[in-house]
């Protein structure tokens, strides 16, 4: 297993390098000269030259990339223009908020998507199956920012059950934290529930037509035992790995959800950075999201091997 993990990590290196080139190039896409903006209205040529030297902008672009990459590898993502804080510090500050949101969203996605997927597979081609399919299709088609707005209108404004916005750390006030996060987590988990439902259904339908399920039935096992102990256990494999992959997607999906519910997380950080033209933060967030995504891919692959005894035996 360690050799397998090592190999997978090695494969990720070129991917990460290409991502770093892309993120660095984003900066070069910017119209205008950032040094002129920094030099102020007087634009003293000596100041401009000093700044160019300081930021090594007189060096060839390829060297600039290596300087930047060297900084990133040592944790120096630059300084936020808006808050004057190091970008990495900002990201580390906001990341736990988004991880809490994403974990709760994944919880909602699993408790909604997996049971409905199982029921749809068991009741294949019946009214229940069609209804589940319509639900899944609707879940995939509802823009989550609109769903968020509608839930605020109904649950917070009309019924007054939950707060419409805000955030409290789970370590400070767990009850308040859960109250503020339930609605955004449901909104974020909604589309994932639909995806999980579709995959669970399809995996279950495949497994339920297998010979060993027919044997289990012939042995006289109850339908519940056949479904839960035999079918679901085997259908779980692709569902678990998919969940790990979807966790990466959640980080991206959090952008709009955090914006609507004013949650001070990773997603809000990138949107605020975009509007304040705080490009070092945008670059840092894009890079971290990509690294997180690759990490989740790796975890999905490892889980797949751990859960599948046939693959485990080949390692």
């Amino acid at each position: 297993m360690p050799v397998y993990i090592g190999k997978r990590l090695l494969v990720a290196i070129p991917t990460l390098l290409i991502i770093s080139i892309f993120v660095f190039s984003l900066q070069k896409l910017l119209p205008g000269d950032p040094i002129l903006a920094m030099a102020g209205e007087e634009r003293d040529p000596a100041v401009i030259e000093f700044l160019r030297d300081k930021y090594r902008l007189n060096d060839p672009v390829i060297m600039q990339y290596f300087y930047w990459l060297g900084g990133v590898l040592t944790g120096d993502f630059g300084i936020s223009l808006r808050t004057n804080q190091p970008v990495l510090e900002l990201i580390m500050e906001k990341l736990p908020v988004t991880i809490q949101l994403a974990t709760m969203a994944m919880f909602f996605a699993m408790i909604i998507g997996i049971p409905i997927g199982i029921i749809a597979a068991v009741k294949k081609n019946t009214f229940v199956d069609y209804l589940a399919n319509i639900l899944a299709l609707s879940g995939l088609s509802i823009p989550n920012f609109w769903l968020g707005i509608m839930l605020i209108l109904l649950i917070s404004v009309q019924l007054g059950w939950l707060p419409a916005s805000g955030y409290e750390s789970i370590f400070v006030d767990p009850v308040r934290s859960l109250q503020t996060m339930v609605m955004p987590a449901f909104v974020l988990g909604n589309a994932l529930a639909a995806t999980l439902m579709r995959h669970t259904r399809s995996a279950m339908v495949g497994v339920m037509s297998a010979d060993y399920i027919r044997t289990a039935r012939a042995k006289g096992l109850s339908p519940k035992e056949v479904i839960l102990s035999h079918s679901f256990r085997n259908a779980l494999l692709p569902v678990v790995t998919l969940s790990a992959l979807l966790f990466g997607e959640l980080l991206a999906g959090a952008v709009l959800t955090e914006q609507i519910f004013t949650i001070p997380g990773f997603g809000k950080l990138i949107v605020d950075a975009v509007f304040n033209r705080d490009y070092a933060v945008v670059q840092g967030v894009v890079l971290c999201t990509a690294v997180g995504f690759i990490l989740m891919n790796l975890i999905a692959d490892i889980l797949y091997v751990i859960l599948n005894p046939r693959l485990r035996a080949t390692l």
Binding site: P14, T15, I18, S141, W146, I149, L256, V271, Y279, A290
Partner: protein
């Protein structure tokens, strides 16, 4: 004898097409999807000719009016007719969906073709870049690109198109790998056709079905992405209407004018579900394994 130049390109036979169409007609969900998409497309095309108020004309006497006979869907915070803005917004949303997918297909398919057909180091380079681009979540990449390109509908379309492009590279490459060892491709090669002719006349027509299915489903994603970017203020700029930017304004008037938020969301939902149903139907119809 038929010369090589006159040799017909190998495309799906007529019988195959009619079988797919028959399957499509039997699929009620796909037909409903097609009707929804056609309805919105017609609305978007007919927008300039419909007897509706100017979508950007403000009226200080009609600010945030609830739906009535004069304004069927109500008015917004500047007294503009929401129905009119919805119809013109359909144009922006559908245009964004179709154009961004055209960009994604236009760039992604040729790269996928070349990657799969030539293999070797060309394939290695294109595949590594595609993998790297796929590692960046779609919306984050679109937001980053739109931020660096500057906020406008055109730039949002470019950002969404470029973000969706790697899916088409990977899909096309996979299809080409499956097709390029077929006898008819070997035959075309053995009679001396050049690589470009083999790729465009013999391989592309045979890998196009899954690309069309993916394109239809990606239009749905692109419409949501455009609405998301406009909602964040990175897409369509005021006063021009788009469903996402209408929602962006509406969220500030939830208690005073909830109808402002309701209609654009319903429209996005309907058009996206329409494309998803159509895409699912096309996939079933074009899948030879499905009876």
């Amino acid at each position: 004898m038929t010369t090589i130049d006159q040799a017909p390109a190998i495309v799906a036979p007529k019988k195959e097409k009619s079988r797919a169409w028959r399957k499509m007609k039997r699929n009620k969900s796909a037909l409903v999807g097609m009707c929804i998409v056609s309805f919105f497309a017609l609305l978007a095309i007919a927008a300039p000719f419909l007897p509706i108020p100017d979508p950007i004309a403000t009226s200080w006497t009609a600010i945030r009016k609830a739906p009535s006979a004069a304004h069927w869907l109500g008015t917004d915070d500047l007294g503009r007719d929401i129905l009119s803005r919805m119809i013109w917004g359909a144009q922006a949303s559908l245009m964004a969906g179709v154009f961004s997918v055209a960009i994604a297909v236009g760039i992604g398919v040729p790269f996928g073709l070349v990657s799969g057909y030539f293999g070797g180091w060309v394939d290695m380079i294109i595949s590594r870049i595609t993998e790297a681009l796929l590692a960046m979540p779609f919306l984050i990449m679109a937001i980053a690109l739109a931020a660096f390109l500057g906020p406008s509908l055109t730039n949002a379309m470019i950002a969404i198109g470029l973000s969706a492009m790697p899916i088409f590279v990977r899909l096309t490459r996979g299809q080409v790998l499956a097709v390029k060892t077929e006898d008819y491709v070997e035959g075309a090669r053995s009679v001396g056709l050049n690589h470009f002719e083999i790729m465009t006349r013999y391989i592309l027509p045979n890998v196009f079905a899954p690309i069309i299915v993916q394109a239809t489903l990606t239009i749905a994603t692109a419409i949501i992405a455009e609405a998301s970017l406009s909602f964040l203020g990175l897409g369509q700029q005021p006063p021009s209407p788009s469903w996402g930017s209408m929602l962006n304004v509406a969220k500030n008037f939830l208690t005073q004018a909830p109808w402002m938020a309701m209609w654009p969301g319903i429209a996005i939902f309907l058009v996206v579900i329409g494309f998803n149903m159509l895409g699912d139907g096309l996939r079933d119809a074009l899948d030879p394994r499905e009876a």
